[in-house]
Each structure stands twice: as C-alpha cells, then as structure tokens.
C-alpha cells in the first residue's frame, strides 16, 4: 500500500443517492458513477460500459449489479466486470462510507 497515492475525497452524502440508483461525479474529463444498493452499500465505476461506453449510471441497479441502459449488459458493481457471456470490465474505484459521508479514492 502506498499512502502517497491514496487520495480519499468526500463526494457527497449517502442520502444524495437514491437506493438502487446512482449519481455522477465529474473528475476532470472522467465521469464516475456512484451507486447505492438496497442495503446501503456504495460502489463506484467509471460511467462507461465496457461494451459501447453506455452510461452505466442510467441503468437499473439490482443485486450488486447494474444493467446497462443501452444494450443490457450486466456489470458487477464491485469489480466492474461484465457478467455472463459478455467480456470486459468498467474501471472501478474504491469508495467508503464515513458515517453519512461518501468518500471516493482517486
């Protein structure tokens, strides 16, 4: 672990994100989607589907996955990996909750 490169940034509060939904964060050129599951866990993925760059933040969230709105690939929130027969992965970012605050590691 290299503490130097770890940079935890507060990006908002848990309430800002709807359950089974997502909100986006712009980090320079990159758009990052922060998801909240039914049991209040949070995950962050680059808002870009490994298939054809669909905005994952706009998908339906279910059981630790999000279904991409463009062509229905199912992406794991935890790893960013496409599920089933599809291959590829979205970039995933570490996130954690500190009380109500959502912190993203960039």
């Amino acid at each position: 672990m290299n503490a130097m490169t770890q940079n935890w940034v507060v990006v908002g509060a848990l309430e800002d994100i709807p359950r089974l939904g997502a909100r986006c964060i712009e980090n320079g050129e990159t758009k990052i989607a922060v998801f909240r599951t039914a049991d209040d866990r949070v995950f962050a993925l680059e808002d870009k589907c490994p298939h054809k760059n669909g905005p994952l933040s706009q998908g339906i969230v279910h059981d630790g996955c999000v279904t991409c709105p463009l062509h229905n690939w199912v992406i794991s929130l935890e790893t960013g990996a496409a599920q089933g027969a599809d291959e590829g992965a979205a970039v995933s970012y570490p996130v954690k909750l500190d009380g109500d605050k959502v912190l993203l590691c960039l």
Partner: protein, 817 residues
C-alpha cells in the same frame, strides 16, 4: 505447406450447409470454398418456413449460418447467383451474372423445384408455389388483403401452408386429389381425423378433387374443378410435389435419371463432382426429408476430407406435421396386406388413434394421431426389428405401460436405449444427448440445440429433449423456467399477474417476499414488469417505483447511443400550429439541439439533448403548452390521423378530431407494451390504421374498429373488432379494449400477441357483445387515468427527482493529485 484446393458448391441449401460444417470440422484448411446460390440469401432452415408463415417465428429465427459464419470460414458466397453452366473440361462454373469460378472439386446441391400442374391459368399472377422465403413473403403479402386462398395439394406442405394462411386471416380451402389427406404418410383413419381437426379450425377441405383450370383476367380470380365447381380465390398455392433439379448436371453431361445419379459415396459419374440433397438419385431413390440429406452431408464431407470409407446407408425416417396443436406421427410401411397383422387403439373422446402394423412379430409401420409420445419407441423397435411377441397384448398402450409401470411420460423416455433416435432430422440418438448434457454441463434446451443439434431443425422432438434434460439433471432442471418471468422466479407472467390480484400484493417487495423471489431485489427484467402490473392493478394505492423503470421512463426522454437524450412532445393527432412550431424552433436554438426530425409517428423529435438540460427544455416546451409525447413509454404513444372530412374530398368522418379526442382521453396511460393508434377518414387509410395496435377506419355508416396490427419486428394487418355508429361508441369500445389488454397483457407483449393468446373471438365477445363487461372495463380505465394523466415534464420542472439531472459533485482536476 500444401496449397489449398478449390471447392465450389452450387446451391446453398440445408444439405451443403451441413456438409460444410462437417468439412470445416474434419479438415479446416483443406479447401477454399466458393458457393453460388440462386436464392439471394444465407443458409436457413427451410423446414421452418411454416412457422414463419404462421407468424410463430421470424426469418432471423431460422437462419442457420449468418453472414458472419461465411466470413469466419473464409467462404465466398455469391448470393442471388444462379449457375448456368458447368464446364467439366476446364473445371469451371459460370453464373448467370457472368461470374466464373474454377474448381478442383465441385458439389452440386441444387435441391428440387416444386412441381407445377400445367393446367390453364397456372402462370397467372397470384398462383404461387411453396419452396422458399420469397414464396412465404408473397403469401404474406397476399394474406394482408385477407381474401380467399386455395391450396392445391393436401400433403405435408399443402397443409402447413393452409394452416399458416388461415392463421394469417385468410379464408382457406384445400383441394386434394386423393380420398384422404396425406395419404403417403397416413392411413385413411388418421387422414380422416386430421381432416376433421382442420375443418374445426375453419379450413375447408375438398378431397377427390381434380383441378381443371385456374381462371382470371389479369390475376387469379377463381379455380374450377373437373366436376364444374368454381371456388373464388385471390391466391392459389400449388403444393403437389417436387422434382429434383437435375438439368444443370444433365447439360454438363453427368448421368441424370429422376435425379443426379450418385454412388453411396455421393460421387456422380465424374469423380471430381459430388452431389447431395434433394437433387440426387441414389439406388433409384430420391429424397424429400432432411434426415437422409444430413447423412449424405456427412458422407460427402468425409470423402472430400480424404476419408473414403464412409458410405450412405438407407434408413427409414418418421414424419410429423408441423402445425401447432396437431400431433401426428407415422413411420414405415402401413399398407394392409395378407401377411400382416395390425393392432389399433381408438379413443374417440380424446381424439386418439394409434395403429401398429406387424409382420412376423415385428413392427413394420406405425401411424399415431393425437398422442404421439410413443412414436420414437415404436420407431426404434421398427428399425431394430425387435420381436414383439412377448408384449403384444399391451404393446399399443405404449412403453410406459409395459411391466405395469405408472403412466409417467418421462418413464418411457428413461427406458429408451441409448441408441434410440430422438431427433430424426439430425439423426441424434439419446446417448449423444445425455452424454453431452453431462460432459458439457448443459442446463437448457438452447444449450442442447447448440451442442448436439437435437431439436434444432423442425423442433417436433423438443418435448423429448426436455424430458432427457429432466432425467439427466434431476431437480437441477426446471422445464417451467422456460416460461418463467426471469431467473429471479419460477413463476410465469400469468402466475404473477394472477397472484398479485389474489393475494392483494401492492408493493414490489411484497410481491418478491410473498412469491418467494430468488434474488434480493429482482433484476432488470422482472422489476419493470412488476412495476407495471402494480401500477395497472392498484392505480390509486401503488406508488410508482422509479428505480424499477428503464431510464427512458425514468427521465421521460429517449436515451441515445452517446448518452444524450431525445425529446418528443405530443402533437395531438399530428396537428400543430405556427405557435407550436415557433416554440420548438426557439427551444432548439436556445439549447443548441443538434438535430430535429419528423418522426414516423406524425410529430417532431429533438435529438442530442444533454441530460442536465432536460428540465429546462421541458420548462420552455411546457410554457408553450406541450406535454411529453411519451415516445419512450410502454404506454400510449401516438394517435396518427389523416385530414378526414376537414379537408379531404373522400373523408367520411372527422378522423382528425376523433384521433385528437382519443389521444387526449388516453394519454398518460401505461400499457403492457407500447400502444399505437390511428384513425383514417376512409378505407384509403392514409393514417395506416390497419397496422396499428388499435386503428379506426371511418366509413359512411360509422366507424370500423380494428386492433392487433403490427408494423415493427413483425408485420401484421389488423383484425376487425366490430363496427359502431358514433364517436362516443368508438371511445367506449376502444377504451374498454385498451383496459382489457392492460389487465391481461404480459409485460412487453404487444396487443397482437396478447390477442393471439386470448383469442380474437373472446375479445370480441367481451368488448362488442357484452355491454356490462365493456362498461366495467371502461370505468376502470377512467379511474386509473385520474392518477396517470399528470404531465411528467411539468412534474420534473417543479422539482420532482431533481437529483436525477444534477451531478453529485464536480471535482476539480487538482483534487485527484
């Protein structure tokens, strides 16, 4: 490295397609392959044309090798190139478009051509044969105008064509020369049962009828029989037999009798020229079913890849008719004769007839009607020449009955030996299927089809394959999963809809809990469906679950491939004004909207809007009086109209006004799948009402209400619901119909599919003939509209879901450092 040889194939039907599969497996690098095909398309499952005709499948569903397959195997396929010359000296073939290809080895697989009875009028427009997709397309086109069809020939093909045309709404008569139907495959008793069943379905059958001539001036109008009967017809389909296509081979000097003469290694009289499929003659026989052709394919592939031992061996094949709901099976020789005995079982109430023909205590033929489950068992004994004297007494009751075992259908399959043939088309035996299931970990029908080809051709052995899956996998196989809503539950849409009502389930978590969902919060398939069912069933109590909606319905705009959105405001009945157009123009300028397009639904689409801009766009549009066009909704979309009596010299009613009324009354309602409507002012039908989910055709005397049309993935003309006299009645009937569909349709099931499932007559009965029923549907729709007609745009402009349109945070680039 040896140079690849050149293989040229003439014809791209099922036989050479299968041959190339074997060849690429055995010797992937042996040949550069070039195919010429007179049909302008890839290789498809010809035997599934009937389901395409009846609407159960689309052409895409029956493609065997898509374009990608040819690319992958480096095959040059000339589509729409008929070969007109073979020069065996120069070893070249030439197509009618002048394309020349050189070969080291040539395969002729020209199939066969339908036989046309040369009666007067056989060449009139409207007289078709039944062989390829073009024939199906031509039949579908003819069927759109409804009208009367006459099918000449009551064999397999003729009856499949008749059933398909009936399904497509035509009035169908079958004319058959012989006294009973399918006399080559069925004995008279079974032929009679079949005839009765078809007549019950509304298909008229005339047997012992010989066609004298086909009449008509510029196209077919009727057909006349030898006995003087005249039958009106707008379409005549000849399905009286096939002739092997041998002319090309004959011109090239090859030996041709009825078909192209080949040895049992598929070699013609020229050692470099092979032939296979329906075009060949082998030991004096010609063939018309795929099972023997697939065997030829394997033999030819072996010889082409250097294995010269493989020989074609004659085996008998069983026949089935692919008309949904009719079960018949026949195999072997079932003619009566002195030295034969027969065992017959009839059950008139159940519509069952079974007959076995025995000779020297062996089964030599069987005909089964109604219950065909034991067909493969009898056929297996027939092929193995099993001595049946031991079980004679109970033989006809089937395999499950032997030894007094319970009558469990899967017991019969379990008892079949490993080498019993399950899939006749592809020659796949039981052992091959069960070992593939075990070795490759297959779990469903599609897997088995992909790995073994069993049930992948005509599909009639699907039930047997499913039973094998069940037997091999035990509880791990769940056949009803095919019909389940999604992998989160074993329940079907029908079960779920029923249970939501019965158990009064009013939230998604309640449904998932009570109906024992297997996942914690469903998936992208079931959640939108449940959300719809609950919205529909409890309009006043259920709170729409926003996170269970597809993004388009969540933000009330259509997501585009680049993540931007498009916005389509309602233009009631397709009418607009300078004020509206000006407002749109202003919005386009203000938000720098990159594209504006007139849609296929008589309104305007603004495309390429950034998500963040959506609320502001709606605000401006809302101020100009627009509401969302719901161009994204599983709900009411457009009501297209024509100008009607307002302007048109042919208009009979105010079609524009009626369309606007309907749209204003029904907008905002959610439906199982999209609902599109149209009103045309006269039967010229400029609003295209006869391909809509619900359409109205105005006539002098009132209004014809149509429904169950489609013009998307499927194309289907509407059915007539009935006629009414006033606009008020149109409103009540249309609204009641929409509500019936809302209450019964499965999520994503368009009205035409629902209608097919429920039955047109049932719908007419409830909506047209039962005023009380109609009124109660109407009232439930009106009640639910109280909660549905809220413009989603103005709601969001006033702040609803505002988080949806804003970033949670914008980090400066430095923050990452």
């Amino acid at each position: 490295m040896t140079k690849k040889q050149k293989l040229v194939v003439i014809g791209n039907g099922m036989a050479p397609g299968r041959m190339l599969e074997h060849l690429f497996e055995k010797a992937p690098d042996a040949y550069d392959v070039t195919i010429f095909n007179a049909e302008p398309r890839v290789n498809y499952d010809r035997i599934m044309l009937s389901p395409v005709l009846s609407g159960e499948k689309s052409f895409e569903d029956i493609i065997i090798h898509g374009d990608g397959w040819y690319i992958e195997h480096g095959v040059m396929l000339y589509k729409g190139h008929k070969v007109v010359d073979i020069d065996r000296k120069a070893k070249t073939v030439t197509s009618e478009h002048g394309e020349v290809a050189t070969y080291d080895k040539l395969v002729i697989a020209t199939g066969s051509a339908p036989f046309i009875i040369p009666v007067p009028g056989h060449d009139l427009p409207g007289v078709l044969t039944y062989r390829d997709l073009d024939d199906v397309d031509a039949m579908l086109l003819a069927a759109q105008a409804r009208g009367k069809a006459v099918v000449i020939g009551g064999g397999l093909l003729g009856l499949e064509a008749a059933a398909g045309l009936k399904e497509r709404g035509m009035d169908v008569t079958v004319i058959h020369l012989m006294p009973t139907l399918m006399e080559r495959q069925l004995d008279p008793a079974a032929g009679y049962l079949l005839e009765q069943e078809l007549e019950r379905r509304g298909i008229k059958i005339i047997t012992k009828a010989s066609t004298k001539r086909i009449c008509g001036e510029t196209r077919v109008e009727s057909i006349e029989l030898e006995d003087g009967t005249v039958i009106p017809a707008t379409l005549v389909v000849m399905a009286v037999g096939i002739r092997p296509n041998g002319a090309l081979a004959k011109d090239a000097g090859l030996s041709v009798n009825r078909g192209i003469v080949v040895s049992d290694s598929m070699q013609t009289s020229d050692p470099d020229v092979f032939s296979l499929g329906e075009c060949v003659e082998l030991n004096g026989n010609v063939y018309g079913l795929v099972a023997p052709l697939y065997q030829m394919a394997e033999v030819a592939a072996c010889h082409l890849s250097g294995d010269a031992d493989k020989r074609f061996v004659e085996t008998s094949t069983a026949t089935k008719l692919k008309v949904t709901g009719i079960n018949l099976y026949s195999a072997g020789d079932f003619a009566e004769a002195e030295d034969r005995e027969e065992i017959v079982l009839r059950d008139a109430t159940a519509g069952i007839y079974k007959r076995l023909v025995l000779k020297d205590n062996k089964i030599i033929g069987t005909v089964l009607y109604g219950d065909t489950a034991d067909g493969p068992w009898f056929f297996d004994m027939l092929k193995k020449e099993t001595d049946v004297s031991e079980m004679r007494e109970s033989l006809i009751f089937g395999q499950a009955y032997q030894g007094g075992a319970a009558l469990d259908p899967s017991a019969a399959v379990a008892a079949l030996p490993d080498d019993a043939e399950i899939c006749g088309c592809n020659g796949v035996c039981k052992g091959a299927i069960t070992s593939a299931i075990k070795a490759k970990g297959l779990t469903g029908l599609d897997d088995v089809r992909a790995h073994t080809k069993a049930s992948a051709s005509c599909g009639t052995c699907t039930g047997l394959v499913e039973q094998l899956l069940g037997l091999t996998l035990g509880d791990a196989y769940n056949p009803s999963a095919v019909a389940a809503m999604c992998s989160c539950t074993d329940l079907s849409h029908a079960d779920v809809r029923r249970l939501i009502k019965a158990k009064e389930l009013k939230t998604i978590p309640a449904v998932m809990q009570e109906l024992e969902w297997k996942t914690s919060c469903g998936c992208a398939k079931c959640r939108p469906a449940l959300n719809y069912y609950l919205v529909c069933d409890w309009p006043d109590e259920y709170a729409d679950d926003y996170q269970s909606r597809f993004i388009n319905e969540r933000v009330h705009a259509n997501i585009q491939k680049d993540g931007t959105y498009s916005v389509v405001p309602r233009m009631w009945g397709g009418m607009t004004s300078s004020t509206e157009l000006r407002a749109i123009a202003d919005v386009v300028d203000k938000f720098d909207i990159p594209a504006v397009k007139v849609t296929g639904g008589q309104r305007i689409d603004m495309l390429g809007i950034k998500k963040e801009d959506l609320p502001a766009v709606w605000k401006d549009l809302g101020e100009a009086g627009f509401v969302s066009g719901q161009a994204y909704a599983k709900g009411l979309r457009t009501v297209k109209t024509c100008v009607g009596t307002n302007w048109c010299r042919f208009g009979t009613q105010d079609s524009t006004g009626l369309g606007i009324k309907l749209e204003k009354f029904m907008w905002g309602s959610w439906t199982p799948a999209k609902l599109k409507m149209a009103v045309s002012g006269c039967p010229r039908n400029c609003a295209e009402a006869t391909c809509k989910d619900i359409g109205i055709i105005c006539v002098d005397s009132g209004f014809e209400i149509h429904f169950a049309g489609a013009a998307g993935l499927d194309i289907k003309g509407t059915e007539i619901l009935g006629s009414v006299g006033s606009e008020e009645e149109v409103m009540v009937h249309v609204v009641a119909l929409a509500q019936m569909y809302r209450e019964q349709g499965w999520y994503l099931e368009r009205i035409y599919k629902w209608a097919k499932r429920i039955g047109l007559d049932e719908i007419r009965k409830q909506i047209m003939d039962d005023p009380k029923m109609r009124q109660s549907y109407y009232e439930r729709f009106v009640f639910s509209q109280k909660f549905a007609q809220v413009d989603p745009w103005s709601e969001r402009v006033s702040g609803k879901d505002k988080h949806e349109f804003k970033l949670m945070a914008t980090l400066l680039p430095e923050a990452a450092e």
